[in-house]
């Protein structure tokens, strides 16, 4: 045993404590996961997915926003290639999550990292990275335990909710406004991130671009507008940095 290693029972206790702390932090997110899962199930059934297909997508992809995107584009008869490109683009933010988690967990056991990758949902990332910043020196196994605790407390309900949604399917009453619940979900997902001039500029260009390019086939306008928005954000950010640097120099 090296000096840095905790005694094994103390380590086991730390890991267990981290797991339960994660589970407690993750549990309230069921309040968002369940309605979103129901929504996904209903939308999939409406689009003509049978129960097996809806559940395969729910379990294998485990990413609601991009799954809804894929279904929406499929119903517009877009070619599968475009469907995959756009739906995967919705998940690109997770490459950023992965990069930001890597320094904390990439020395952990492979199966746990694979599980963490499979389970990488927005709130698991957000809660975990916040915890790692408070406890940067926690053992890798404890950090992974926190993450998996968040997921085990809030992801199984996703499968159940998708299943129920797919069963209810088209019988869902219109008065619940489910046609628009997906929009509400997307808006609430990105809204808190819109802070500072570069992000506002990126948002405006992406939004206006998407409306102006709505004539493009297979929702290609979405990808083009998002790319223009990203470029705008990066350029504004750099311009602001330059200005700050030149003011410092004076």
């Amino acid at each position: 045993m090296t000096q840095l290693d905790l005694p094994s029972d103390a380590l086991a206790r730390t890991i267990r404590a981290s797991f339960w702390r994660g589970a407690r932090a993750g549990f309230p997110f069921n309040a968002a996961v369940i309605p979103f899962g129901l929504l996904f199930g209903v939308v999939a059934a409406d689009a003509g997915f049978d129960l097996l297909q809806a559940m395969a997508m729910s379990i294998l992809v485990l990413a609601g926003a991009s799954s809804l995107t894929a279904i929406e584009l499929l119903t517009q008869q877009a070619p599968v290639f475009i469907v995959l490109l756009t739906a995967a683009a919705v998940n690109l933010r997770m490459a950023m999550y992965s990069a930001s988690l890597a320094p904390h967990i990439s020395s952990g056991p492979l199966w746990q990292r694979a599980a963490a990758a499979y389970l990488m949902v927005d709130h698991a990332y957000a809660l975990s990275i916040a915890d790692y910043e408070v406890r940067p020196d926690a053992p890798v196994r404890a950090k992974l335990a926190f993450y998996l605790g968040v997921c085990l407390a809030s992801v199984p309900s996703w499968f159940v909710a998708c299943f129920i949604g797919a069963l209810i399917g088209t019988q869902m009453p219109a008065s619940l406004g489910l046609d628009y619940a997906g929009v509400v979900m997307f808006v609430s997902l990105f809204a808190p991130a819109v802070r500072g001039l570069p992000k506002i500029a990126a948002l405006l260009v992406a939004t206006l671009g998407s409306l102006l390019l709505a004539w493009m086939p297979y929702a290609l306008g979405v990808l083009v507008a998002a790319s223009l928005g990203m470029a705008t954000g990066a350029l504004v950010e750099r311009a602001l940095q330059r200005r700050a640097a030149s003011q410092e120099a004076v």
């Binding site: 997110f29 309040a31 968002a32 309605p35 003509g48 297909q53 395969a56 997508m57 294998l60 992809v61 485990l62 991009s66 499929l74 119903t75 008869q77 599968v80 469907v83 995959l84 739906a87 995967a88 683009a89 933010r93 490459a95 950023m96 992965s98 990069a99 988690l101 890597a102 320094p103 990292r113 990758a117 499979y118 927005d122 709130h123 008065s175 628009y180 619940a181 509400v184 979900m185 997307f186 808006v187 609430s188 997902l189 990105f190 808190p192 991130a193 819109v194 990126a202 948002l203 260009v205 939004t207 998407s210 709505a214 979405v222 507008a225 998002a226 928005g229 990203m230 954000g233 990066a234």
Partner: protein, 113 residues
């Protein structure tokens, strides 16, 4: 029009693989290796561009009204944005937005709008 079974399965499997690879990229394959700065910068703008670009047409031209602008649905989107932004909390924004949506839709029906 119905979607072909083949297209559905191709989408499910393709998206499952692509999504796992994106998620596994740094914690699994690349380790703690540094990304080029321009890529890191671009990725930070993914959430505030791809999602708004996706919903903007659905807000302006909702499917449920046959593609004509609906002030009620636009108001729900704006309220949801304001709520989630102010509270800095996606979950509360979503639940609040859903509540607005249900109230607005049912009030609209009652008032005959």
């Amino acid at each position: 029009m119905t979607i072909s079974t083949f297209d559905i399965w191709l989408t499910i499997i393709g998206l499952a693989i692509a999504t796992f690879l994106i998620r596994f990229s740094f914690i699994g394959i690349l380790g703690g290796r540094q990304m080029p700065p321009w890529l890191l910068t671009a990725l930070r703008y993914v959430p505030v561009t791809i999602l708004p670009a996706l919903v903007a047409p659905a807000i302006m031209w909702p499917e449920a009204t046959g593609g004509s602008f609906d002030p009620m649905r636009a108001a729900v989107a704006i309220l949801t944005f304001a709520l989630a932004w102010q509270l800095r909390n996606p979950m509360l924004g979503f639940l609040g937005g859903l509540l607005c949506l249900i109230i607005f839709i049912n009030a609209g029906g009652v008032l005959g709008l």
